[in-house]
Amino acid sequence: MSEGWPKNPKYLSKDLQRVDAHDKVTGKAEYAYDVHPKGCLYGQILRSRWPAARIQSVDLSVAQKMPGVKAVILIQKVPREVRYYGQEIAAVAAETTEQAEDAIRAIKMIAKPLPFVVNTIDALEEGAPAVFEGQSNLSKAKIRNKGNVDQAFNEAHAVIELAVSTQVEVHHPLETHGNTIDASGEEITCWASTQGITSVRGGIAKALDVPNNKVRVKMDFMGGGFGAKFGAGVEGVACAQLSREAGAPVKLMLSRFENHLSVGNRPNSLQHIKLGADKNGKLVAFDLNGFGSAGFASGGSSAGGGGGAGIPAPYIYDVRVQRSSQIGVAINAGSARAFRAPGCPPASFGIESAMDELAVKLGMDPVELRIINDPQEIRSKQWSQAADRFGWKNKYKKPGSSPGVVKTGVGCAGSKWAGRGKGSSAEVEIAPDGTVEVRCGTQDIGNASKTFMTVVAAETLGISPELITARVGDTTFPPSGGSGGSTTCPSVSPAVKDACDNALEALQEASGISDLSGANWKKACARLAPNPIIAQGKWKKGLSGSGTGGVQMAEVEVDTETGFVKVMKITCVQDCGLLVNRLTAESQMNGGIIMGIGYALYEERVLDPITGVALNPNFETYKLTSMADTPEIDLELQNMPERGVIGIGEPATVPTASAIANAVANAIGVRVLSLPITPDKVLNALSKVPAPEESIPWGRVASLTAQGEFIDLNSKEWIV
């Protein structure tokens, strides 16, 4: 039995094409959306038209009698309160989606609209409408203190202060949230678009009050989750209940409009940052006063609590003396959920903006300033490696010194992430014909699970990938937990390797052949007839690592007359630990960077302060990066087999927006202090027009954050 990963691999770290690519591009791949069991009904959800209201009564009787309608349920008993536009009230299942929609519209409600607040700054004000009656919209401040901050600032050689903000970003996977569920009989099957089949099983079983072993959740393919698709969700529970009541399978997939409202988002952030350095550029003091909203449940003592809008500042940099105080603010909006590297993109934007301002003040090259202050060994080298690839020394000029109307600029930023492995299990079945099936109850959220499982199995068994079929997304497979935290590849790869090692041993024993290489493989397998060998495996320490670092550099063009920003190039150097499959890892990095461009320039949830509704619940005005906006992406994925497998799905997206923002500031010589950097903000920054009035009461924020709950700095609340 082998220990550790092989030194001279045949399949690891190469470019195996995504094994299900053909099925995906030809439409053969079956998503939750595509599953259509016989007699399947269509579900629709009635949602609140009010940002806040007391629902006195809901009359389902008309809807129940409408043509094709088979089930109508209340999501929650009335009277009740709704706290955001789009909150679920009732659901219908009917023979056609049109009938279901007509029935939803026929449901009559008596509701009393209540005062609401959808703007985070407004929600701070004294006397602002309370999201939860009688409770504060504000959480208690979370404070971290290390050393004497005031003294450190007094002694600092250079100090900068700035206030930045980031927007609410919505996950918007291409496949919206939803399920097809058959709960008509005793055995319940759920085809879920999920990144956590096991948690969906638990959720559905609990909602229907049946044992877990009566629920099977399947997910052959899914079209993205980004952190928002772990649980059964209100729509999943409703789908199961409708199916049970109708006695037929029900498909309930959200529309793009619905997906925008109630299945998660990345909280916004407002950050007042102070950063000081000594004359050599070594950081000596950091101070953050911040707040943000994770939606209706982000207030302190209110439901959800905890103020899920916090950020891990000062993120990648080591500042010995620091103070950070943050509050969560409840507003009448859908709740936030984990979103690709939770907290990190906004934290990165704040600190990397501050670092560039400090570099200007110190008269230092921004890359040099980062190298001096980077505590992580690998990343501190990556700054120079990225700079060489990118041509930083030639491209970096004094801010605003680029000539002409269309100015060019460059910027940089770094990332860190744990990406560690954890308990995962897998099994391998070797058939007498020499083919192999690898099974794991994990998911493929776009990270090419089936492909890297095939690579690991081919490498460990010493056979061609063509003999291997990898399967995921079934609760009858060995459990592997949710696909989140960039833990999937570092968890599943060791489990598959272990299962393969065990299978090899069993095959040697059963066949009496010890050398299984070459032609011996088929010979040994043939001796198994008629039964296959099945062997289990588990994640083991030593095969995965943690603590990845990455650096990105951006080059932009900014039209100073129109404010239009075009990203010309992104260079990325990323530590991947053991690179399991290069081709699909590159695809993950590309996807993260493209998403980061959206965060930098386009995406923003807009809620209307007058009516409380969502104004851009569509891809027309909630804007996503398109191919035309995607620049040259130059990747250097660093393969360090000795570190074991490390997940990189999340760090891929963290530094992109910060690097772009710094590049824009470098181009035009003034900083756009809020994301996304849209043309109006560029023109405002260039003072071609007065900025819209948005006075942030920092004084009040400071007084609010002066007292709070202290957090032990040694706790692992954030990331490694």
Partner: protein
């Protein structure tokens, strides 16, 4: 969407015969289907006019373009590209290739507001018969900076702006009789009646557009937040006779800044007989924007429109 009758018309006369107060014409359906799915409009009958006039004809002193001509046909028309570059450029910027493959000339110029309050299914704004224009006090980043009336949603038709600069005329059929409308007349109602998107009645059908060839130089430019498949924040079209660098018969229109195509006589008059250079266009752009009256979130459109006007005028030289 609500149920509706569907009828496919073989002739313009038949289409008009089928039309009434609660009907809508369907060209490419790009705009109409969105409105129907979101219950913004629920016509009792949809009359498919996509098979009507799809001809682009050279009539000597003008081009005659059928109302059902698809935008892709304009984009790919080599002779039009030479004769009316501004028109072709305006079509090139519409949506995506998929949209241009089905969207029609008639549908583009008669398209409805994209204001996000108007398109929000749960908001009853002034344009939908409500009592207030929410954009005035709300989030008006994408709205008008020149608005005479109570609704400040801007005209977003690319072709409407280019055709205004080219001094086109629209042939509109009502109850079988064809009227000939200037571009100004085609849009003017939108500036005074907050419920109007243009001057058409529900049973008015755009049958064709006549575009004079008189002005040899024309251009169209727009700026959006994204590099493709995005609405313009500001668009600008210019057309003129340009001989030995001297401008004559200039027309200059801005889009997405007003409920109608926006121009200003003072700016246009200033350009007459002037040499086309940086100084001339800067002054014209200044005059053009002198009366701008932006709202809280769209002040940026003033310098942006100034830049677009300068660039559209300078682009006449290349056309």
């Amino acid at each position: 969407m609500k149920n509706f009758q569907y009828a496919k018309a073989a002739t313009a006369e038949e289409a008009c015969g089928l039309s009434g107060k609660e009907t809508r014409f369907h060209g490419g359906g790009i705009d109409l289907m969105g409105e129907m799915k979101d219950y913004i409009d629920s016509p009792s009958r949809v009359i498919d006019v996509s098979d009507l006039d799809q001809q682009i004809t050279d009539k000597g002193d003008h081009w005659l373009i059928g109302g059902a001509v698809k935008l892709v046909a304009i984009v790919r028309h080599d002779a039009l590209k030479k004769s009316l570059p501004g028109l072709v450029q305006s079509a090139e910027h519409v949506g995506s290739p998929q949209i241009r493959n089905v969207a029609t000339v008639g549908g583009n110029i008669a398209q409805h507001s994209r204001c996000w309050y108007y398109r929000q299914p749960d908001v009853k704004c002034l344009k939908k018969g409500g009592s207030q224009c929410y954009a005035c006090e709300g989030i008006n980043k994408y709205h008008s900076i020149f608005a005479e009336g109570a609704c400040i949603s801007p005209l977003v038709s690319n072709l409407g702006i280019a055709l205004s600069a080219l001094d086109a005329r629209v042939q509109v059929m009502r109850k079988g009789a064809v009227r000939d409308m200037s571009m100004e007349a085609f849009y003017e109602l939108a500036d005074v009646n907050p419920r109007a998107h243009n001057s058409l009645q529900p049973d008015d059908l755009v049958v064709s557009v006549k575009v004079p060839k008189g002005r040899k130089s024309s251009s169209y430019l727009q700026i959006s937040e994204k590099g493709a498949f995005d609405w313009a924040l500001v668009s600008c079209a210019a057309a003129a006779d340009l001989q030995d660098g001297i401008l004559r018969n200039v027309r200059l229109y801005l889009g997405v800044v007003s409920p109608i195509p926006y121009s200003r006589e003072k700016a246009v008059a200033f350009l007459a007989g002037k040499k086309l250079n940086e100084e001339t266009v800067a002054e014209a752009a200044r005059l053009l924007m002198a009366k701008a009256d932006p709202f809280e979130h769209n002040g940026y459109k003033v310098p942006m429109a100034r830049a677009m006007a300068k660039r559209a005028l300078l682009a006449l030289e290349a056309s």
